[in-house]
């Protein structure tokens, strides 16, 4: 082969990668916690009236951990979906109220509805760090054995709910039933 063609070949490879690169989303990070045990935590409930929450309570259940805050605009878009899910009673949803003001959070729930069976109050975002939260909202699906099975960053959409989350919940529920 002509050695003067090497630069051309190298360039073709680079351009191919750049072309693929245009279709990638460099900001969507896979969670290293997928398939790993969900970090255990205990937090006070959202003040003033809600009871404290410990992840140990959820053992043996398939549950959803939803990280939200009243200052997070995108949380509002996914909230009706969560409300509907809660009404359907498919699974329990735990809210992790992330770096929020308790009064704001409470007012927010009054206004938009409360889909959560428990609300853990993560005032300083410590539990957030344990879960590798970097964008709010984030949603984790945790199975009976406390393993994280699914993670979604950003607002949930009906599509994700229908085609990814709910089928997975069904399988997980069926697993040990």
């Amino acid at each position: 082969m002509n050695r003067f063609a090497i630069p051309l070949l190298a360039f073709v490879v680079v351009v191919a990668f750049l072309g693929v690169g245009l279709t990638l989303k460099p900001r969507e990070l896979p969670s290293p916690l997928l398939g790993k045990p969900a970090p255990a935590f205990e937090l006070p409930g959202l003040p003033p009236a809600r009871e404290a929450f410990s992840s140990a309570q959820m053992r043996g259940d398939v549950w959803l951990l939803n990280v939200w805050a009243s200052w997070c605009a995108a949380c509002r878009t996914e909230h009706p979906l969560l409300n509907r899910l809660a009404r359907a009673g498919t699974l329990r949803i735990v809210g992790l109220n992330y770096k929020d003001d308790a009064a704001d959070a409470d007012a927010w729930l009054q206004r938009f509805g409360n889909p959560y069976t428990h609300i853990a109050f993560d005032r300083h975002g410590r539990v957030g760090i344990e879960y590798g939260v970097y964008g709010v909202p984030e949603t984790y699906l945790i199975d009976r054995h406390g393993i994280i099975r699914f993670k979604h960053i950003g607002p949930l959409t009906p599509d994700i709910m229908q085609h990814r989350l709910l089928p997975l919940v069904e399988t997980l529920n069926g697993d040990s039933a």
Partner: protein, 667 residues
Amino acid sequence: MIPELGHFALILALLMALLQAILPLYGSFANIPAWVAVARPAAYGQLLLVALAFAGLLYAFIHGDFSVAYVANHSNSHLPLLYRISGVWGGHEGSLLLWSLILALWSGAVAAFTRHIPDRIAARILSVMAMISVGFFLFMLLTSNPFARLIPAPAEGRDLNPLLQDIGLAIHPPMLYAGYVGFSVAFAFAVAALLGGRLDAAWARWARPWTNIAWMFLTIGIALGSWWAYYELGWGGWWFWDPVENASFMPWLAGTALLHSLAATASRGAFKAWTVLLAVCAFSLSLLGTFLVRSGVLTSVHAFATDPARGLFILIFLGIVVGGSLALYAWRAPALAAHIRFAPLSRETALLINNVFFGALCFAVLTGTLYPLILDALSGAKISVGEPYFNFLFAVIGAPLALCIGVGALLRWKRDHIARLRRQLPAAALVSVGAGLLWPLAMTHHPYSLNAGLGLALGCWVMVSALLGLRERSGGWRWRNLAHTPRSVYGMTLAHFGVGVFIIGVTFTNAYSVEKDLRMARGETVHLAGYGFRFNGVSDHRGVNYDAARGELVVSKSAGGGRRTIALYPEKRTYLVQKNPMTEAAIDAGLTRDLYVALGEALDGDQVWSVRIYYKPFIRWIWLGALLMAGGGLVAATDKRYRRRARSAAGEATAVPPQTAGQAAAG
């Protein structure tokens, strides 16, 4: 009306560029002198039309015509005039227009200052440059029209990003683009040579001053960007290895290799194919940088607003320009193979070693920049490659490079003798090692720093051997000899000396910087690196288009009872339109140290603030070194030998000095 005229001028410029791309090229092969003769007037015409378009946008900015979407997004009626002007290139669309204008200026300069080159070759060069212009005009007209109207017009513009409201960043892009785009001249020379299938030493001599000037602009542009990041971002760093910075650094590395390779080709007719490849690479990397900055494939702090359609367009354009020229290279380069004899110890070998070093560094930057993307494409894994990676590679590859600079500058063409080096080098080595060992001892308030010693030794070695190289080339320190030494030798000496200054600046800044983030109460004094900093509190201050909290720190020497004090006023600004807070560091600059103060947050009412204080020794040497390098490029470009018409003395009289060409291109 004016914006429409600008838009129309842009369309005409596209047509003119098409004319300039097709007719002269065809004419040069079909032997139609009239078509060949189209090249120069078309280049001037294109320049005129782009200048009109640019003037149209400038007019819209100065008069605050917010019915133009681009103006509405990047200006505001309260914006000072200077930033209304620099706002023209403060965003994606306008910066493309600036890019095109500078390309047209280079085209015009090539048309004006290549009378000593055979018409047919000049025509091909101008044709290749016009093809690049066509691509950028199409890019603007199809995806990024700076003249697009916004109806109904908003009453007020959204303002220029406050970070860009700064003199450093007003002149940084024109310089940088003058460098990026300037490499298109060397590229066009290379492609023209490949098209013609002939390349001689005269070609390299013609190409050299253009490459030098482009490289000088790029050096200044990068240095300006670094200086701006240092004082404006408030972190005190001078280089962050961001993809956008890397995008400007890769063409610089390839361009530096090209400068050296051209020296061998011009003087010895050696390495022709390799030199042509480097010329193609330097500009290709400029285009790649454009793609990286404007496509959104990499996450960068400085990226422009991104849009997949734009990314796709540049990628296709990149594929045509670079793929086409590399295919041409694969086809024609075998004919360029030369058989020049040289010994293992010779200037030729030294220049090749230089090229390997710069090639490896450039490859490292390219790999590090693209690797996250490549890995993501292959496996979906997400990683980051940043400062620690690049610093490691540049230290490991850069240190031996610095050792070689000194020796390389001393070597003679064809064959040199180790005995000659043995006479010259020990003194330089002794001076360097001695300085490197002793200096850290002199820095009494700092523990012995091996890195600083190594850096000083390397820096001295480069500087001393640069001077030895000057003596060697001029034949001694006598005035008669020095006066007859070609400018290119002085340019090289100056640039190499600058490398030494740069190395010392980098290593000293790294080794001896002191950085403290502190709580300071009003009236409190802290001592740092031999200076006392007294915090006198914060007051409100009103700027033209911002409100600021302005702190006052009074600095005095801790020891020696010096009376001299310096007052520093760091600010925290809130620009009225965009509302984001901005840190405006206050810096007392000096040749041997900078004192750098930035204001953080109010911690306790108005009395206690968090304050960042940096002591940055020798940081100015980093930019000083870069300026010396750029100066070297300029001095070398004025060498008379480059302007000689092939084998005829008459060329001397008609040729205009290339540095004038460069200045014209900058204007």
